[in-house]
Structures are given as structure tokens and as C-alpha cells.
């Protein structure tokens, strides 16, 4: 049977023998060298004897009734083992979804967006599978497309989902609205009367793609017990499991999942892609099935960042104090709900930004439309809001006649400030300080492109395309700051689980850490070993592959993994330590009174007193013993926001970053070169400073991308995606990536493990508006839309 044959490329345990670092040290990634030399096995590299290749047939239109599907010719193709449609689904449950189970595993009766899966093929060669899929004939009867708020809520609008029964339908104003969240605090109408200046703005945020480099892929191997082993690149194994098993008609214990090599995620792997499809084909054919999307298919295979329209009104007194804010944020969730409800919660509750405004009137909504489904992406609703409120801050500062940074500092929140939800910010909030730091940095030199041999085009807008040697180039500077929540909010039971074992191997005490945490590049694999070393005083730590044989770790998203799974590892280590000390007391307690009286630590492979006296060698103490603990760990609970007022302690923690962007714009050609993106961020405690800087620089660059180039372009007439390729969906190259000086603050959050602050998303927030502000500064244009394209800068 399949399980006895060879699988290659599946993950193995990673033992870190030579890394010494505990927390706070820049320990290197154990997989770093493998990745840069091309030896790391990603999920797409897996191979199994006798395996088949799965291929997905996707809809060529955005909204249509399916009149018929003819699979006869596909099935006749030599080498084809199975062709599946909706009618072949084995269980009563035929849908899945993160929050609302509204997504069909295969389209049934109707397709709701361009690229929706309609049928599956398994064949002995990927090209055979592709050709067979092309022979499936689907007859569509096209329906009108819903592409924006106006078409979604028009009186005669076609409903994207008829007969909704989800928990949100009760309070939404229209069935084509997934969820809406108002937040009312104080009296914005009254407070507006105190304003000397009022600024209104309308902003548009384009659809960004996560653009992870490793496309969706995985391998499903049928097992003798009728279950299936699934190796897959994902962000949250147990969330997948809870969606996969019901559709396969299997109990969860018969679907055994193992994380395989993940090539980036950024939110785009929080939803199911090929997982269920591969399992269905494997169970149907009795053979291992591998599915790998190519780049084109990947653009249809995962959700994107919600594009948004944002309408803002702010007021300020002539002294520069903010009086009130009203806003309405319309997020386009596309055809299926995905994470839209939670994105709405974030966008609304963080719509004020890191500022003190007591009187607010806020509403955020997410639409159902026939555009591509949108869901989680780094920054998760807070990104779109930050782009808009930071543009507003610049406009207001200018009206008041204040320096833009000073204006922000004057209105900056601090510890104790109430969010619009009424929740107090109960840990350090150094908003004014991080702004001060980026502003105080020396400016990069003017005309930095000049060299003794002429203009270095690499340092100019246009780069190697050689469009300017300095002509038309104007410098601009812009600032922005943002606030991101950390962890899952609104009452979600956001726990993690860690299993930690301690034993003696070859005379050396070693620790093994087993969690279901998805390592997607964030560095948890390094940090878990650092925590184990710090808590257990060992050098050698083995990290087991992440799988579903241990409890859920929650998602690798929401800047939460170091906090929550790091917290779970720390907690389990502490429980292991207690047991180790009990063994010590039992074995050696009579030899030294300190066993009973002193605070005892595990350090350098020994049990020591807090005074530094050694009581025992761990190797000796653990001889013949294995100590193992699996425990869940939770951060402080949160509550749901009130559906009408938005009040409630919905968030766990906050993360703050500020950016100063220095850009040079070729004002005649509308091309931009970002020269420098200086940033300052409070991370509470940098468990691995090198990883922290890497995350900040990566997040900053992703924010730059959506400022000047990254956008999925959807035809408003057909709702079809026009640029599903890396030829036309551009992400920054190293030549587009500026110098990114990083200033890391460590102001401990007393509520968090080691005082740390989740930090992976905040840099993505303020980077975009800082770049936009700098381009506005250089050009004098209003630029209420991101990304900025050359035609916007040249009026063409």
C-alpha cells in the first residue's frame, strides 16, 4: 500500500546542535543555507512512487449558471484515472470556508468568480492531466456581474449567495454585504462644531496579491485505514483539517496532515486551496496525488487583499487638536466570505489610527461581489485604513499650518488612550517617539545618483531602463505611522499548543519541541529552539515537523505566532522544568538544602540556584527519565464588538511602526525611485533581533510594492482578472528596494511572554502611506489612490 513506498521531499525533524542562542540573540535559521542554495524541499518538490498529478479546471467567466458539464472525452484520455465534478463529492458537506462555509469544493450550478474550480482530473503525467482538463466541456449561461458597492446593493441586484443562513445575515443591510461593523463613540456630529478645519477625502486601495514565491502545492497519500495523509504548505494545519475532513466524509483522526516546505504565505495560505482536491482524487483513485499550481493558477488559487473605497472626514481646532472623525470603509470581499468578517472588524476598530479622537462615527462593510475572493493578507484591514487616515493627517496638518510630524505627535495615542471601541491601550504606545526617531535621522544625500563617470541610472527613477540622467527628477519626503492589532480578536479562542520533551541522549540533555505551528518564513522554528534553550538550559534542541498529531497552534498570521505559540512553548517548558526539578528533589534533595529553599534554574545543562550554585548535572538528573508535557496556552480573552455600537474589549495587543519615505520622482515620466524608507517600531522584546529586522524590512517592502506597482487588475465589465502573471503583476526587485534603516524599540508589554509584541504586520501599514506622502510632496498631486501609476503622475 502507498504508505510503505518512498516519499521524498517530506519534512524531517530539525536538530539544532550548534546554535547556542537563547532569547534575545540573533540565532541563524537552520533552513537558511538550504533555502539560499536551492536545496530546501518545498511542498512542490515532493514526490511519491506511483503518484498521479491532479489538475483543476477553472471557470473562464466570473458569474454564470452552469448549464452542463461533459467529462466524457476527458475520461477517455489514456493515462487519466479520474475526473471529478460536484456530483462526485462523497459527503453531505460540500462547502468549506474559514468563517462561513460558503465556498463549494467544486462549483455547483453556478460559478461566482473568474477562476473558480469546476472539475478535477488525475492522470499519470501533469501534461496528460492538463490536456484532459481542457477536454471537459462546460456550458455557461452568463449572469450580470457585481463588481462594486453600487452594483451589489442596487434594488434589482442579483444575489451572489441566495438563502444565506450565516450568523451575519441577521444584521447586514443587504444580502450582498457579508458583514458590517459600525462603531459609535461620543458624538461626532456635535464635536464637528468645535472644528476650525474639516478635511474630507475619498480614497481607493487597489487589490494586492500576497505573491508568495512557492505556489500552492501538496501531496495526498491514501492510507490503509481508509484515511489520507496530506503533506501541504499551509498557514494553519488544524483550521484546514476542520474544513477538509467533513467534505471527505472522514473523521478528523483519519486525515493526518503534515506541514511541508512553505514558500511564503502572507495570509494567502490561510484559506484552503488544493488540499481537499488532492485528497478527493487520492481517495477516489487509491493512489498518491500531487497538485502543484503554476503561477497563473496561483493568482486564482488564493484570496487577495481586499481592495477598498474609504470615505473620511476629520476635524481639527486651530491649535491642531483633532475634534472628530467620521468614516465609511467599503471592502470588496469578492465571491466568497473567507476572512471578510474579521477584516471588517479590524478595519473599523483601527480606522482612527494611533490617534486620540473621542468622537467618532465609523462603519466598515465587506461586499459579496463577483470579483476574486479576498481575505487575509499581512495587515488585514488595518492597511487600507492607514493609507486613508494618514493622507487625512497630512491634509489636516497643512490646513492647520503645522508641521506634519508635530501634528501627528500632538494627537498621538499613548498608554491609557481609549480606542474607538472603548478599550484602553494598556501597554506602552510610543507613537510620538517612533515618529521623532524617523524624523531625526539624517537625510540621504541629494543627487545620490551622480558619480565621477556620469549618472548612475541604477540610483535614478527608471533604473536600468535608462529613462533619465537627472532630468525631471524631484525629491519628496513623507511620514506615516500606524497601529495593528496582534492576535485574533473579537472573542476568538486564540490558543496554541506545545509539546516539549526533555531527555538524555548520548550523555547530553536535549529538548524536543513539537507544535503544529506553520513555519512560513517568519522564524518560529528558530525562536522555539531559543525559548527551549533559555527555559531548559540545554544546547541541543530538536524541532519536530509540524503536524496534526499535536494540538492546534492557531494560524501563522495576525503577528501572533511568536506571542501565542512562543508563549505555549515557554509555558510547556516551564511545566517540564517543574517536573525536572521534582525529579531532582526526589533524587538529590537530601544532598543540599537549596533543593527545598532556593529559586532553582536550569542553566548550561545544570540545575543552579538563583545565587549561581550548581546542584546537579541535568544529564545525571535525567538519566533513565523522559519528561514530556503537552499543554495549551492562551493569551487574555477578548470579547466581540457590539453589533450596533462597536464597543468592547476586542483586541489583545497592538503593534506600532512609523516610516519616513524619501523618494525621487521623474515628474515628466511619472516614474518613482524610493531612496530610503527609514522606520522605527516597538517590538516589546526582540526574541531574535536579526529576524525582527528581516520582518520589518520585508513588511516595509511589501508596503512599498502596493504604493507604486502591485495591483491585480480586474476588468469592471467582466470581473475577469487581467494580469495573472509576474510579467504584469509586478513586485519590487532589489533595485526597487531602498535602504531601510531600522530602529527597534523594546518597551515591554507586561501582559505578553517576555514582554514581546507581535511585529510582522505593522511595517506593512505605514510604509505605503509614507511613500504616497513623499510622492505627493515631490509632485504636488493629491493622489487618493494606491498603487500610483505613471499615468496618475503625468495626467495622461
Amino acid at each position: 500500500m502507498a504508505g510503505t513506498k518512498t516519499t521524498t521531499g517530506a519534512p524531517t525533524e530539525v536538530t539544532q546542535k550548534h546554535n547556542k542562542g537563547g532569547i534575545g540573540e540573533s540565532t541563524l535559521r537552520p533552513d537558511g543555507t538550504l533555502k539560499v542554495t536551492g536545496e530546501f524541499a518545498y511542498s512542490s518538490d515532493m514526490w511519491h512512487e506511483d503518484m498521479l498529478w491532479g489538475q483543476t479546471l477553472r471557470s473562464t467567466v466570473a458569474h454564470a449558471e452552469i448549464v452542463s458539464i461533459d467529462t466524457v472525452e476527458a475520461l477517455k484520455t489514456p493515462g487519466v484515472y479520474a475526473v471529478l465534478t460536484y456530483d462526485d463529492l462523497p459527503a453531505e458537506m460540500k462547502n468549506y470556508g474559514l468563517e462561513i462555509q460558503d465556498t463549494p469544493v467544486l462549483a455547483h450550478g453556478k460559478v461566482r468568480h473568474h477562476g473558480e474550480p469546476v472539475a478535477l482530473v488525475a492522470a499519470d503525467h501533469p501534461e496528460t492531466a492538463r490536456r484532459a482538463a481542457a477536454k471537459i466541456v462546460v456550458e455557461y449561461k452568463e449572469l450580470p456581474v457585481i463588481t462594486d458597492e453600487a452594483s451589489a446593493t442596487a434594488p434589482d441586484a442579483v444575489l451572489v449567495h441566495e438563502g444565506r443562513t450565516d450568523e451575519y445575515i441577521e444584521h447586514v443591510p443587504h444580502p450582498n454585504i457579508v458583514h458590517n461593523q459600525p462603531i459609535i463613540r461620543g458624538n461626532a456630529e456635535e464635536a464637528a462644531k468645535k472644528a476650525d478645519f474639516i478635511v474630507k477625502g475619498e480614497y481607493t486601495f487597489g487589490m494586492q496579491d500576497q505573491a508568495f514565491l512557492g505556489p500552492e502545492s501538496g501531496l495526498a497519500v491514501p492510507a490503509e485505514d481508509g484515511g489520507v495523509d496530506l503533506y501541504v504548505a499551509t498557514q494553519w494545519l488544524h483550521s484546514d483539517l476542520g474544513q477538509i475532513a467533513p467534505v471527505l466524509g472522514l473523521p478528523e483522526e483519519k486525515v493526518r496532515m503534515t506541514l511541508s516546505g512553505v514558500g511564503g504565505a502572507f495570509g494567502g495560505r490561510e484559506d484552503i486551496s488544493m488540499q481537499i482536491h488532492a485528497c478527493l482524487l487520492a481517495l477516489r483513485t487509491g493512489k498518491p496525488v500531487k497538485i502543484v499550481y503554476n503561477r497563473f493558477e496561483s493568482f486564482f488559487g488564493h484570496v487577495h487583499r481586499h481592495p477598498a473605497k474609504l470615505y473620511y472626514e476629520h476635524g481639527a481646532t486651530k491649535d491642531g487638536k483633532l475634534t472628530h472623525m467620521k468614516c465609511r470603509i467599503v471592502l470588496d470581499g469578492g465571491a466568497y466570505a473567507s476572512a471578510s468578517p474579521a477584516v471588517v472588524g479590524n478595519a473599523s476598530s483601527l480606522s482612527v489610527g494611533p490617534y486620540v479622537i473621542d468622537d467618532v462615527d465609523i462603519e466598515a462593510i465587506a461586499l459579496y461581489s463577483n470579483n476574486p475572493p479576498c481575505g487575509a493578507m499581512r495587515g488585514f484591514g488595518a492597511v487600507q485604513a492607514c493609507f486613508a487616515y494618514e493622507a487625512q493627517m497630512d491634509k489636516l496638518a497643512d490646513k492647520v499650518g503645522m508641521d506634519r510630524v508635530e501634528f501627528r505627535q500632538l494627537n498621538a495615542m499613548s498608554q491609557g488612550t481609549l480606542l474607538p471601541t472603548g478599550q484602553p491601550v494598556d501597554s506602552p504606545a510610543p507613537v510620538a517617539e517612533i515618529l521623532r526617531r524617523v524624523k531625526a535621522r539624517p537625510m540621504p544625500p541629494e543627487r545620490q545618483w551622480e558619480s565621477s563617470e556620469g549618472a548612475d541610472v541604477r540610483a535614478l527613477p527608471g533604473g536600468l531602463s535608462n529613462t533619465t540622467h537627472g532630468e525631471g527628477v524631484v525629491r519628496g519626503v513623507g511620514y506615516a505611522v500606524g497601529i495593528k492589532n496582534v492576535g485574533f480578536s473579537e472573542g476568538f479562542d486564540d490558543y496554541s499548543t506545545a509539546k516539549v520533551r526533555m531527555e538524555v541522549i548520548n550523555g547530553e540533555p536535549v529538548a524536543t519541541v513539537h507544535t503544529a505551528m506553520a513555519e512560513v518564513g517568519q522564524g518560529g522554528i528558530t525562536v522555539h529552539a531559543q525559548i527551549a534553550r533559555t527555559e531548559l538550559g540545554v544546547q541541543q534542541v530538536t524541532i519536530n515537523p509540524a503536524d496534526t498529531q499535536v494540538g492546534s497552534a492557531g494560524s501563522t498570521s495576525a503577528s501572533r505566532q511568536t506571542y501565542v505559540t512562543g508563549g505555549a512553548v515557554k509555558n510547556s517548558c516551564e511545566l517540564v522544568r517543574e517536573k525536572v526539578l521534582e525529579i531532582g528533589r526526589r533524587k538529590f534533595g537530601s544532598y543540599h538544602p537549596a533543593w527545598a529553599t532556593a529559586e532553582l534554574l536550569l542553566e548550561g545543562g545544570k540545575v543552579v540556584t538563583d545565587g549561581g550554585e550548581t546542584l546537579a548535572d541535568l544529564a545525571e538528573l535525567l538519566e533513565g527519565e523522559t519528561v514530556e508535557v503537552e499543554a495549551e496556552w492562551r493569551h487574555r480573552p477578548t470579547v466581540a464588538f457590539d453589533k450596533k455600537t462597536g464597543q468592547g474589549n476586542g483586541h489583545v495587543q497592538y503593534s506600532f511602526a512609523a516610516h519616513r519615505a524619501v523618494v525621487e520622482v521623474d515628474t515628466e515620466l511619472g516614474l518613482v525611485k524610493v531612496i530610503e524608507l527609514a522606520t522605527a517600531q516597538d517590538v516589546g522584546k526582540a526574541l531574535n533581533p536579526l529576524s525582527v529586522v528581516g520582518q520589518i524590512q520585508g513588511g516595509t517592502t511589501q508596503g512599498l510594492g502596493v504604493a507604486v506597482m502591485e495591483e491585480i487588475i480586474v476588468d469592471p465589465k467582466t470581473a475577469k482578472v487581467r494580469n495573472p502573471s509576474f510579467t504584469d503583476y509586478l513586485i519590487p526587485t532589489i533595485l526597487d528596494t531602498p535602504t531601510i534603516p531600522v530602529d527597534v524599540l523594546e518597551l515591554a508589554d507586561p501582559n505578553a511572554p517576555y514582554g514581546l509584541r507581535g511585529m510582522g504586520e505593522a511595517p506593512t501599514l505605514s510604509s505605503t502611506p509614507a511613500v504616497l506622502a513623499a510622492i505627493r510632496n515631490a509632485t504636488g498631486l493629491e493622489l487618493n489612490r494606491t498603487p500610483v501609476r505613471p499615468e496618475h503622475l503625468t495626467g495622461t
Binding site: D456, R458, S465, T467
Partner: protein
């Protein structure tokens, strides 16, 4: 898909004669993209990588004979003096890895208006050497591009080399993309001064159904330079001449709106690039090259 691997040029011509639908592939810069996108699945791929002479080049009295598969990297490193415009265009092609494999034969074979080499080839002036089992011929570049992604090749012909006129004066090349490297052209412009014939030639990319020359702009400029005695005096070109040249170049464009840019932007950008590249080449001609040529 059958993969034909001729060991020599003669075998390649024979294979093409036998299978006229075979798509030649060398570096794969264009062909692999089309296959990856499923835009085409040719019945036969004709791999030219074993044909060594396609990677050879020779500098003659008047022209450089550039083999169809000479990689862009080689053009940048070895032929910068003889083919400065094409060397600048080569810099803008994709990534270093692709520049190590791709050559102008692929650009010419695909004849996409977005091919980076075309504006430089049009400006420099060249002839494309094509051959079949029936014999060989030279196609002037002005007659080479016949329609959207169409060229003057017969179905049994292969591109062997390009005979490019050696630069007798400064040449420049600019390309607009919405990223600072590794980007497909929104539009591009090439210019070459030919002091030996006292003419200026141009090329425009991605702003018309085919790569084109801005002929009205050339004719205007040639006349203005002649009348003003600029070739001899090496005077600064008056702003009004530069402006009109730019406007005529812009007017030569016949672009479309697409996902990469608007037609209006393309017309606008062609004009800006025409003005700037004329300024850079003319300053070089006047002897001030160091401050204007650009380095990378």
C-alpha cells in the same frame, strides 16, 4: 510536443523544412513564457542550442555580424563600442540569468512590439540574415516587421544573424516600465546619430502594432540639422528643434490602452524619451559624453 535537437545549422534548416510549424527556441525568453501561459503548445520545438555558429559574432569593416543566439550579456560586455544602442537595450532585458541565455534572434522571431531589442536595431540600421534549405537572404530591418507578432520570414526560414551597422556616432536607448528592473516595456525609444551619412534614425517599441521608426521626426530633424549646419558646428540643438522632434516622435506612436499603461501615457512618454535621448546623444556628439551617457 516533440523536441527537435539538430546538431548543426544544416540539420536545423532541414528540420524546419520538414516541420514548418516547428517553433525555434534558443534562450527561451519569449517562447517559454508563451508555453507557460498556455498561449501556444507548438507541435514541435526546434532547439537551436547545439548550433554553435549562432552564438558567434564578428566585427567587420562596416557592420557587426551578430549571431542570432549571442547572449545579451555578451552584447553588453563585448560590443558596447560597436553597438552602443543595442548594448543599452540589452541592459533592460529581464534579469542577469535571462540575459545570459537570450539573444536578438528570439526578439526578431517573436516580433512582439514589446521586444527590447527592436528600437535599437531600427535606429542602428541592420539587415536580418535568414536562411532555409532553399538558400539565404538579407531582409532590411525596415521591411522585417509585417504585423502584430509577424515578420517577413517564410515558414521554412530560420534567423541566422543580424548584420548591424557599426556605430559611427552616439546612440541611446530608453525604456519605460513600472518597475526599476526586470520589467516588460510600457514603451521604449531608440536613437542613433549617423554622422557619416548626416542622418538620425529612431525606433519606437510597444507603442504601435509593430516596432516602428518615427520617420516624420527623423525627416524633420535631418533637415533641421542640415539647414542649421549642426553636424559641422556641433552647436547645441535649439530647444524648439528638440521640442518638435519630440512631438513628431510622439505623433508617430499608435498605441493602445492595456493592462501595462494607457495609450495617452505611451504617446506622452515616447515624446519625453525622444527629447531626452536626442539631448544625450547630441551632447555626446559635441564631446560631452561623460556627463550624459549614463552608467550602470
Amino acid at each position: 510536443m516533440d523536441f527537435l535537437r539538430p546538431a548543426s545549422w544544416e540539420e536545423a534548416l532541414a528540420a524546419k523544412a520538414e516541420h514548418p510549424t516547428a517553433v525555434p527556441i534558443a534562450g527561451g525568453t519569449d517562447v517559454m513564457v508563451e508555453i507557460n501561459f498556455d498561449h501556444r503548445r507548438p507541435e514541435y520545438l526546434l532547439d537551436l542550442n547545439r548550433v554553435a555558429e549562432l552564438r558567434e559574432w564578428a566585427v567587420g569593416e562596416e557592420t557587426v555580424r551578430l549571431g542570432a543566439s549571442v547572449p545579451y550579456t555578451t552584447i553588453m560586455e563585448e560590443l558596447r563600442t560597436e553597438l552602443p544602442g543595442l548594448a543599452l537595450a540589452s541592459h533592460t532585458v529581464a534579469s542577469p540569468q535571462i540575459r545570459n541565455r537570450g539573444g536578438v534572434g528570439g526578439n526578431l522571431g517573436t516580433a512582439s512590439p514589446a521586444g527590447d531589442a527592436h528600437p535599437a536595431l531600427l535606429a542602428a540600421d541592420c539587415e536580418v540574415e535568414v536562411e532555409s534549405v532553399r538558400g539565404s537572404r538579407l531582409i532590411p530591418i525596415d521591411e522585417f516587421y509585417t504585423g502584430v507578432k509577424r515578420n517577413a520570414l517564410a515558414e521554412d526560414e530560420l534567423i541566422k544573424s543580424v548584420h548591424i551597422k557599426k556605430a559611427a556616432g552616439p546612440q541611446q536607448y530608453s525604456k519605460v516600465g513600472t518597475r526599476n528592473a526586470m520589467v516588460i516595456a510600457v514603451c521604449a525609444f531608440g536613437i542613433a546619430l549617423h554622422p557619416d551619412t548626416r542622418t538620425v534614425r529612431t525606433g519606437i517599441g510597444s507603442a504601435a502594432p509593430t516596432p516602428i521608426r518615427a520617420k516624420a521626426a527623423e525627416e524633420f530633424l535631418n533637415a533641421a540639422l542640415e539647414e542649421g549646419g549642426f553636424w559641422d558646428s556641433k552647436k547645441i540643438i535649439t530647444p524648439s528643434i528638440a521640442k518638435q522632434f519630440a512631438e513628431l516622435a510622439s505623433g508617430a506612436a499608435n498605441p493602445i490602452d492595456d493592462v501595462r499603461g494607457t495609450a495617452n501615457y505611451r504617446r506622452h512618454a515616447v515624446g519625453i524619451m525622444a527629447r531626452r535621448t536626442l539631448g544625450w546623444t547630441w551632447e555626446s556628439y559635441r564631446g560631452n559624453g561623460r556627463s550624459t551617457e549614463g552608467v550602470a
